[in-house]
Symmetry: C2
Subunit: 420 residues, 2 copies
């Protein structure tokens, strides 16, 4: 099966907006065993869009477009496609009623221009938009005049805003595909999230032992960024699920505590879940991560039940005032030291009366490094009822990467402690 | 002039990686007056890449590809292109020496596979890679056998990793384009960053007064996300710069303090710059933004000189302990109240001995709302030597959007105070 994706919008080719549709749609489809073969991005230009859709319909079984379905004067994809397919547009009363209802529920007057969104090419199925006014459209191009073999193709038109497109895709497009274009072979996939080792070392540990399963059809993939490596396990056809679970068991055995979660889990979601389950609380004392750890934890709903307090103690003065770090520790060891990380974690735990406290002190750069403590030097500490542990790390990266990697190391220090 | 961009990499079509090249390259080109007409994304497949490059060379004056230049077995773009253009590959000694030097400087042994990157199609210019081993390539396709009119096209091959591609683009590609393919008309553009009003209200204020300039050739564009609207002013040809500055003056006059910066400035970069210039310090007391304000400020190099301390006081207990918020205020007004925001700002300023203190207290959701204080209710406070100001806002969004918008409102409260 061949699938092509066409993203339209002049703002995309002017570089004003990041195209997040490509990754999101491709990932949704890949997880079900579909493969996208080509993605194209075009400006809001009728001739170019018609030419590209014609081209794609000549090759692909499924063509998905995004954008150009709204009410404004540059939203003309609906009309261009109707013209290309030689279909009349007609006013769909049910869609019109839904658009009217959308405005009525929000106590807003419906602008006259909104009506245009209820004009539908003949034979198109309407994909309801629960989060906006422009419906999606699904058109079976049968017979397909653009394809040498005359085989039919499906053409699906989706609105541009992600918060409209995404639910519509999950609720309407995927069921339609399951009925009309089921994947050639059902795919079962599972992603294990790991932290603590780089991609090549993860590969070194698992590729050999998994070789037999790979020869038997297991698909093994890696996706890495600094501080995190995903291991993707997939298989097709009958027995796919048991093969993937066999591989999962093997990877978990080989990587042990390096695996922290599956699928969309993150270190922060894992921690908030575990701490909530156990009724435990946490405090944070951040210096060089500057609040990023608190920010990550509080992105998780329910964080307020576990995070008692976070202190971003950039200055020595604030380390002393809020965390009781001693002048002796600061003078003798320096703010970036094992001793200060230790006192920060202990101070945060005591002053916030939390079960656990994480601390971070280091040199994010670009300034502030020295010969003995170069930019990238960092200490990560954890205090709990069993004592205090401090780990040294060296993260010689740009400032934002430094903060990200260090926050991973700190969150992971707590995660490993929670396993014990 | 027609420009096409081809991004290659199977990971892009599997949805594992976000394609950031498109936006970055398009924006660089747009800022100089070039227009990208089409962008395509393809898997690492020789036949498909050759077909797409041939297609693009049949239409475009400039074709840029990204990816597939590295040393591993799926990096074959160099070979596929040489084959398509019917050019021999030869070993370029200078490039080989640079690759060897790259490893030597890092005290690493050069793997045998790295040599493949020094094989260059005949007639190609080498674009040096200062941050990796795979050089870029620039090929003048002259005569161009794929184009009906036989006109030459430029084909530029760039490596995939952003930290290699971006400097190479700025240092080698742009100068090459300036010489070989200067933009049809020079563009002068300027982006004004605003916060505090939505896109349609910004447009309402400026579109009318700018109408005459638009008729005279000014290009006026908007790019909006919640909490921020960019106004882009551009003009072409002689007098472009003075026309844009005329428009800039008009917009600044019409929008007044809503404009906070130009170009790549952010609220946090603006604040760190101003506070540094004035030798002033800041403290933060965040509840529902959960450290995001501290995180944003500390992403800026030099933040350590202005941020004395940030307190993420999620719990009432921590508001009392660290910020001296009174039990009376919490009991009578509730944690999310004008009074508590006021006491938080005052407490943070006093306890951190900072010149300014920002405070935030609100309900991020999804839980925690009530009839009188629904999810989205938030108070933002600022304490300085002139007193304390508190602003109520209502941000009924999902959790991450809520945090972002609220952090914008808090940072902007301080920015406006610094203007006075």
């Amino acid at each position: 099966m061949r699938i092509e994706l066409i993203n339209t919008g002049s703002e995309l080719l002017l570089g004003r907006v990041l195209n997040t549709h490509q990754q999101w749609i491709c990932r949704q489809l890949a997880d079900l065993g579909y493969e996208v073969n080509r993605q194209t991005c075009l400006a809001d230009d009728g001739g170019q869009i018609q030419a590209a859709v014609r081209e794609s319909l000549s090759r692909a079984d499924l063509v998905i477009t995004t954008g150009g379905l709204g009410p404004t004067s540059d939203d003309l994809t609906r009309n261009w496609i109707a013209q290309l397919l030689n279909r009349e547009l007609f006013l769909d009363q049910e869609t019109l009623a839904q658009i009217e209802q959308y405005f009525a529920q929000r106590h807003r007057t419906m602008p006259a221009t909104a009506q245009v969104q209820a004009w539908i090419p003949a034979g198109a199925r309407v994909l309801r938009n629960a989060n906006g006014t422009a419906p999606g459209l699904a058109i079976e191009v049968r017979p397909n005049p653009f394809r040498g073999d005359g085989l039919p193709s499906w053409l699906i038109l989706l609105p541009g805003p992600p918060r409209e497109l995404r639910p519509m895709f999950s609720e309407s497009v995927l069921p339609l595909l399951a009925r009309e274009l089921p994947p050639p072979e059902k795919l079962f996939s599972l992603t294990l999230k790991t932290t603590g080792l780089g991609e090549s070392l993860v590969e070194e540990k698992i590729a050999g032992p998994l070789q037999k399963l790979v020869e038997a059809g297991l698909e093994l993939g890696y996706c890495a960024r600094i501080g995190e490596v995903e291991v993707r396990l997939a298989a097709r056809g009958g027995g796919a699920e048991s093969m993937v679970h066999l591989a999962e068991d093997l990877v978990r055995q080989l990587l042990g505590p390096l695996v922290y979660g599956v699928g969309d889990e993150s270190l922060e979601s894992t921690l908030v879940r575990i701490l909530t389950e156990r009724g435990k609380t946490i405090a944070l004392a951040e210096s060089c991560t500057g609040g990023m750890i608190a920010h990550r934890l509080t992105n998780m709903p329910g964080a307020s039940a576990v995070l008692k307090c976070g202190l971003v103690t950039y200055s020595n003065e604030s380390k002393r005032n809020f965390l009781d770090v001693t002048a002796a520790a600061l003078n003798e060891h320096g703010a970036v030291s094992e001793m200060v990380a230790r006192q920060m974690a202990q101070g945060a735990r005591r002053k916030c009366r939390a079960d656990y406290a994480l601390s971070v002190t280091g040199i994010a750069g670009p300034g502030g490094g020295s010969e003995s403590k170069p930019v990238g030097t960092v200490y990560v500490g954890l205090a709990d009822d069993r004592g205090t542990a401090v780990e040294p790390h060296f993260n010689p990266f740009d400032r934002e990467t430094f903060k990200w990697v260090t926050s991973q190391q700190a969150l992971d220090l707590l995660r490993r402690a929670l396993r014990a």
